[in-house]
């Protein structure tokens, strides 16, 4: 049976919804239909996917305006004559068609302080009770589909909040580490409040609603984190102690240095100064840069920019990124 679909096509410069009538068979999901479109009418339709089993979190999209995984949206959930509209997730910049630039999330992941192993506990000696690990395990079910980030109204249509706000995905990461039975840091909540923008969240639970893993993001992570932050902040003594401690514990505003001695120890004997800064072009044994005259179609030194370039270049074609200070 043919069904009507509207799929957004375009890129950063703009685009629009295109109409398609596509064959749909019993038992199929929306991602099956995207694949059929690619195999038939639109071979270059861009869409991320991997496992097609709801386990990798790649095929995030908005289906009739709702943030969903394409592989987890059964066609049988729509009305017989319903038009199905598929658009890219809105909170992140479009790259092409249904593919968006989700690097925001990877940047926030980097800023969240990592697990700090308990000092003096050797590998193999970790002891934890099932009941204690289960609380963190709930958050470790996260497949990083970023639908919670996409739906969160703090940053959906509010790019200006992005620098100061990590989003639900990283609140549950903070909660996970906070509840980890052996994590050595005790300032996860304070960190979430001070550096992740936990205070922006006014617990509308949109993130919990869209989570394909049914993680209770708001109830089990955000609210407990907020409550405990509040507890500590309003106890004047604890507050004072924290206030004093936090300065030297955190070091910088954005990220405290990781304290993982057991790990760096492996490389203890080997100098890590081999990390190189950007290098110039290689120089031959004679001290000259090599000029590949014999293999080139042109005589003389090649243009370092390629022979088919004319200048000036249109700025949108230049792949140069001005170096930015790492945040």
């Amino acid at each position: 049976m043919k069904r009507h679909f509207r799929v957004w096509r375009g890129d950063a410069s703009g685009g629009d919804l295109r109409d398609f009538d596509v064959e749909v068979n019993e038992g199929e999901v929306v991602l099956d239909i995207i694949h059929r479109l690619q195999a038939t009418e639109t071979p270059d339709l861009a869409c991320r996917w991997n496992c097609k089993a709801g386990k990798c979190g790649s095929c995030s999209m908005e289906i009739n305006g709702k943030p969903r995984l394409g592989c987890m949206t059964r066609m049988s959930t729509f009305e017989e004559n319903e038009t199905i509209t598929i658009t890219p997730i809105r909170t992140f910049p479009v790259i092409r068609d249904l593919v968006t630039d989700v690097s925001f999330n990877y940047e926030k992941a980097r800023e969240t302080p990592a697990f700090a192993p308990p000092p003096g506990v050797a590998p193999g000696e970790y002891r934890m009770q099932q009941i204690d690990v289960e609380r963190s395990q709930e958050f470790r079910k996260c497949i990083e589909c970023f639908l919670c980030q996409n739906t969160c109204h703090v940053i959906r249509d509010h790019d200006e909040n992005k620098p100061a706000f990590s989003g639900p995905r990283y609140f549950i990461r903070a909660a996970e580490l906070d509840m980890h039975p052996l994590d050595d840091r005790s300032d996860r909540k304070e960190y979430a409040q001070a550096s992740q923008g936990l205070g922006f969240c006014n617990i509308t639970k949109c993130c919990t609603e869209v989570c394909p893993e049914h993680i209770k993001i708001t109830d089990n992570a955000i609210i407990p984190m907020k409550e405990r932050v509040v507890d500590r902040r309003y106890d004047p003594l604890v507050w004072l102690g924290r206030k004093i401690l936090r300065r030297d514990q955190l070091g910088s505003d954005n990220m405290a240095p990781s304290t993982t001695p057991g790990v760096a120890g492996t490389s203890g004997g080997i100098p890590s100064s081999r990390a190189r800064r950007p290098e110039g072009a290689p120089v031959g044994p004679d001290g000259h840069m090599d000029i590949a005259e014999l293999v080139a179609p042109l005589q003389g030194g090649l243009s370092p920019f390629g022979e088919d370039m004319t200048f000036p270049l249109p700025p949108e074609e230049v792949t140069y990124h001005h170096p930015e200070k790492d945040r």
Partner: protein
């Protein structure tokens, strides 16, 4: 079209960001090497997330009688003695350390009562051995390694002010060619999927960790990434592939409904009490216990059922036979007309235990089928059948270092892309531990190799230009064939003619059809531009899928016996003579696949002595046994 090529210098480039790749990269970075990780997908989306059962390691937390020797024996038995014994030995010995190490990275495995890592039963393992997290162990492994890399980047940030100074992830980047300087690896060439721009990594050492080849099959649990890139890159760089005829068809993939076709139903469903029934309702696995396993498996349903609660005094249910035996049994039942409506058999756990127990033990399984297919596994049986799951064959490597054989130097491989470890059949749970053990080793030895070099090998400009031309060809060419059609045709050839049960006539036919496809693939064209164009990406991947398929078909035709993941209807028996033979593929100058036989390395005596003579007699020739006795 612009031919700007972005250039990066690294010490070690790891291609693939699944378990093996990430573990290798961590090790290279810890050894002080500047490391790049290249991922075809986003960081953390690797196919490793699909592994459900667990990671096998003889920690002895649940049954203290377990140790590396028992694990080694199980692995060799599972692989029907064709395993590279040294890899199986290293794997069994080092797996526990690698698992414990993950806890220091923040992993949270399920626990025993005394707070240790819990271990579960799995097909082919004598004792409960699989460290697990519900049924999402692969996700835990990937996330843990991903977060470890982030933590290393944070250390680097604290020290240098840049997260990327020592280890950097290039996500959504595909490598199309390895570049050599003489016989030495000098770098890797590829493109950013987002922009279609080219990128050149100059590096003296490359670790391949690209996973498997399943996308060449019609019914597969593998994602689009599994196009045999690493296998093909290795071949073209002068390395060799070993035993490519051995593909694991997971016995229990969903066959209905279509939205979940190919998706695996984890073996732990059977480990926890699920049974297989045919359309007549018969628990048929009792009819398919091969002689070599007769002693370890129950003969009656009563005994089998007692095993779940008292494993020490009862023999195991036959549902827990190694995967190939289960796959073959299902295939036979379906062929005999006793299959389910969609051409599989029924896997029943609903009638075996209360619903809440199923949900507690198999949460994501339950969730997955409810959401994806509206199937409630606590109420109705699942329809399952064999699906292409894993390739045992792969890059022939030096067991201790992971260095590729053949003419190339500076090339390493780990994980599914490497061959030998699993012999003719992989035990469930052994792949996650394989990733960790050999990922670490490859990263370590790639770093050590870089230390020994006097000068950095340099890729030649001619090779770079040629690689760029090959990559652009499908876009430049007008009026060629649609890549999706070609992929479907290739999948049909491999699925129908080089599938789970093989015959000489069909294999010959397959080779002929692959030759025809080769001509067609050379003429593939992709419409659209360079920015995130999946049609173009597939067009480039096709030549990798094709050459790897040729290796599989050739080796399958050559090996005239049935063993593990290779079943020949015309040679149904396992042959002790063939156990001595590895089939090794290389690429000739003309681009043709060259196949040769090589002897299987001789197992060290102290390992050989771990086995009963009576058991060995089933696998090795009489002369071999006599020879050992004489010593």
């Amino acid at each position: 079209m612009s031919t700007l090529i972005e250039r990066h210098l690294y010490d070690v480039v790891v291609i693939g960001a699944g378990g093996a790749g990430l573990r290798a990269a961590i090790e290279a970075r810890l050894a002080g090497k500047r490391t790049a990780i290249i991922s075809k997908s986003l960081f953390g989306k690797a196919h490793t997330v699909m592994a459900e059962g667990g990671a096998a390691a003889a920690m002895g937390n649940v049954n203290s009688r377990d140790n590396w020797m028992v694990h080694f024996r199980d692995t060799m038995r599972g692989g029907k003695f064709l395993n590279n014994f040294r890899m199986a030995e290293l794997h069994a010995k080092e797996a526990p350390e690698r698992i414990w190490e993950l806890e220091t990275y923040g992993a949270l495995f399920d626990r025993t009562k005394d707070g240790k890592i819990s271990q579960r039963n799995f097909g082919g393992h004598e004792y409960p051995r699989l460290a697990h997290v519900g049924d999402r162990t692969g996700l835990e492994l990937i996330r843990t390694l991903q977060q470890k890399i982030v933590s290393l980047q944070q250390e680097d940030f604290a020290e240098t002010g840049s997260y990327d100074s020592r280890i950097r992830v290039f996500q959504e980047t595909t490598i199309t060619e390895l570049l050599l300087d003489g016989d030495r690896v000098a770098g890797a060439f590829g493109y950013y999927r987002e922009s279609g721009e080219f990128v050149l990594f100059e590096a003296p050492a490359v670790v391949l960790a690209t996973g498997g080849v399943g996308r060449s099959y019609k019914v597969t649990s593998n994602s689009w990434e599994y196009t045999g890139d690493g296998h093909a890159l290795a071949l073209r760089a002068g390395a060799t592939l070993i035993n490519m005829e051995f593909l694991q068809f997971h016995p229990t993939g969903m066959v209905w409904p279509p939205s979940v076709k190919g998706i695996l139903v984890t073996e732990s469903v059977r480990g926890d009490g699920g049974v297989l029934r045919n359309s007549e309702g018969k628990r048929f696995m009792f009819d398919y216990v091969p002689d070599v396993f007769r002693k370890q498996y129950a003969e009656t349903e009563e005994e089998a059922d007692r095993w779940y609660t008292d494993a020490d005094n009862n023999r195991r249910p036959p549902e827990l036979l190694p995967r190939d035996e289960v796959a073959r049994a299902i295939n036979s039942e379906v062929k005999a007309g006793r299959g389910s409506p969609a051409g599989g058999v029924f896997l029943d756990i609903a009638s075996r235990m209360p619903a809440e127990q199923i949900i507690r033990r198999l949460p994501s399984m339950h969730h997955q089928f409810k959401e994806l297919a509206d199937v409630d596994i606590t109420k109705e049986p699942m329809e399952v059948g064999p699906t292409c799951h894993y390739v045992m064959g792969g890059v022939e490597v030096e067991p201790d270092t992971g260095a590729a054989f053949g003419t190339v130097q500076g090339l390493f491989a780990a994980g599914e892309v490497s061959g030998g470890m699993h012999g003719s059949n992989r035990l469930g749970g052994n792949s996650l531990s394989d990733l960790l053990v050999f990922g670490k080793r490859a990263g370590e030895h790639a770093s050590a190799y870089v230390e020994t070099l006097q000068a950095r090998p340099k890729p030649s400009k001619v090779d770079v230009a040629a690689a760029a031309e090959v990559a652009l060809a499908p876009l430049v060419r007008a009026g060629g064939e649609n890549p999706y059609t070609l992929q479907q045709d290739l999948q049909a050839v491999m699925g129908d003619l080089v599938g789970i049960i093989r015959r000489e006539g069909e294999l010959t036919d397959a080779l002929k059809k692959l030759q025809e496809l080769r001509v067609r693939v050379a003429n593939v064209s992709a419409s659209g531009g360079r920015r995130y164009n999946p049609g173009w990406h597939l067009a480039i991947d096709l030549r990798n899928m094709l050459v790897v398929s040729e290796c599989t078909a050739k080796a399958a035709l050559e090996r005239e016996e049935s063993r593990g993941g290779h079943t020949r209807e015309d040679f149904p028996k396992m042959s002790p003579e063939w156990r001595r033979v590895n089939l090794v593929c290389s690429l000739e100058e003309t681009g043709e696949v060259h196949l040769e036989r090589k002897p299987v390395p001789r197992m060290r005596d102290e390992l050989f002595d771990l086995f009963d003579r009576s058991e060995l007699a089933k696998y090795v020739t009489d002369e071999e046994l006599a020879e050992r006795e004489a010593e």
